[in-house]
């Protein structure tokens, strides 16, 4: 049984078809990275997976359960799917610690004391225990994103989805966030949309190259970077590496 299985999903906005029949799987503790040019539906795909924006057609299976089934309790499912946003979306009125613990307290109904303890542990994991009492507006972008990751981790999700977690950050802050993600690799299933090719190459178990709402090619990093089967993949990766430099 796969941790996550996406089966042939379609999504349109009006007459604009964004996803055109995508299928792939993510296994336990596996790290998959989705790459592709902007506007090819990568973010839409993630929102379709946790049903923030349900797909028009197709199925999403999580731990052997069809979560596109309309009778399912989405709030229960979403607890199992962590989500890390491009623009953090930390709760502005809560401290870093409260941001991490609120899901535990209000959704998982864990007692306040235990929830705080667990939240603090997660903040320690992302290196922010010292900032636990600060409000989002007092944190740097990189720190905010690490709180965002801790918030997702605290719920003990089956899988975490990352929607371009570093693209709103100043270049010198990206490293901290990527380090945290690197440490998570192999410990929890992750599906990551990113433009950080160096990270993708070093950390991913598999890379999925997406364009025009479909998967062009997927495979292990070495194959994708050194010996892609499709001409389009070669072009894209070639342009990316001239843009960002080889790592």
């Amino acid at each position: 049984m796969h941790m996550l299985e996406v089966v042939d999903i379609y999504k349109s906005y009006g007459s604009c078809e964004v996803l055109k029949g995508l299928s792939f799987t993510v296994d336990k503790d596996e790290t998959k990275v989705i790459i592709g040019t902007s506007g090819t539906g990568k973010s839409t795909l993630l929102k379709c997976i946790n049903q923030l924006d349900p797909p028009d057609k197709g199925e999403v299976w999580l731990e052997g359960e069809d979560i596109t089934n309309p009778s399912i309790d989405l709030n229960r499912i979403r607890q199992k799917i962590g989500f890390v946003f491009q623009d953090f979306n930390l709760f502005n009125h809560l401290t870093a610690l409260q941001n991490v613990s609120i899901g535990l307290e209000k959704v998982k109904k864990i007692e306040k004391e235990n929830a705080r303890e667990k939240a603090l542990e997660e903040l320690r994991r992302v290196g922010l225990e010292k900032q636990s009492c600060q409000y989002p507006a007092q944190l740097s972008g990189g720190q905010k994103q690490r709180v965002g990751i801790a918030r997702a981790l605290a719920m003990d999700p089956a899988i975490i989805l990352f929607d371009e977690p570093t693209s709103a950050l100043d270049p010198e802050l990206i490293g901290d966030v990527l380090d945290v993600m690197k440490n998570l690799a192999g410990k929890v299933a992750m599906l990551i949309v990113t433009h950080e090719m160096g990270f993708a190459r070093n950390v991913a178990d598999e890379i999925i190259f997406m364009e025009g709402g479909t998967i062009i090619e997927s495979g292990p990093p070495e194959q994708m970077f050194n010996n892609p089967k499709k001409e389009r993949t070669r072009q894209f990766l070639g342009r990316i590496s001239t843009l960002y430099g080889k790592e």
């Binding site: 953090f88 979306n89 502005n92 959704v107 409000y135």
Partner: protein, 227 residues
């Protein structure tokens, strides 16, 4: 002249303070009710299906367009003509609440609109239900953002209670009017004294709410609501 005035203030102090008590009671009851309705209807306007938001919008338009005095007359005299007699105090509360709620909906709605959409998306991605999201994530931020607009409305309502004398509520203004008809020769000082009492009330509300705003302001997060 001045002595006469001061005399008429001193003679009437107990009489005036009683009126002040009614003014305060009227204000507190009305502002509380109007705030509760204002928050509920603002949420109704933002979060429910048509036709409810449209009906709330009509309510706002109508009661923001009517003079409070006319609302008082309609509630008090209009109802009693239909055989429904309510005490002047309750008629005044009804009128003030109907009027102030229409303004407060706008205040809270602006604050709701000022909360970034991502706040709700993030809450939902944690598995929070819609009511939980509103209660734990949206409302705490909305209330903070609303304090300046709300405190302004609070003082307006306090000043508006003076109009309740028109339907015979014996609040501060009505006491002034009564003194005027008994003894108009020293009325200037009495009226100035009444003005002073109102001023002190308005001033303390402003100061108190300013303090509240500072106390609950989030460090570094100083977004002002769309006015």
């Amino acid at each position: 002249m001045i002595l006469l005035g001061i005399n008429s203030i001193i003679n009437n102090i107990p009489f005036l303070l009683e009126g002040l008590g009614v003014t305060i009671a009227l204000t507190v009851v009305s502002v509380t009710l109007a705030t509760v309705f204002g928050i509920l209807l603002a949420m109704g306007r933002c979060y429910t299906r048509q036709p409810l938001p449209f009906l709330i919008y009509i309510y706002e338009k109508v009661f923001r367009g009517l003079p409070l005095l006319i609302i008082f007359f309609l509630v008090y005299f209009g109802l009693s003509q239909q055989g429904i007699h309510i005490k002047a105090f309750y008629a005044a509360v009804t009128g003030l609440v109907l009027h102030s709620t229409a303004y407060q909906i706008q205040i809270f709605r602006s604050a709701i609109l000022a909360i970034p959409e991502g706040q709700q998306t993030a809450a939902m991605s944690l598995g929070m239900s819609k009511p939980k999201t509103i209660f734990y994530i949206i409302l705490p931020q909305v209330l903070r953002l609303s304090i300046p607009g709300w405190s302004n409305e609070f003082t307006i309502l306090l000043k508006d209670t003076s109009i309740a004398f028109s339907i015979g509520v014996v609040e501060l203004m009505a006491r002034g009017d009564a003194i005027n008809s008994m003894n108009p020769s020293g009325i200037l000082h009495v009226l100035l004294f009444i003005a002073l009492l109102y001023f002190i009330l308005v001033f303390s509300i402003n100061k108190g709410l300013n303090y509240l705003e500072k106390r609950y302001r989030l460090s570094g997060y100083e977004v002002t609501a769309v006015q």
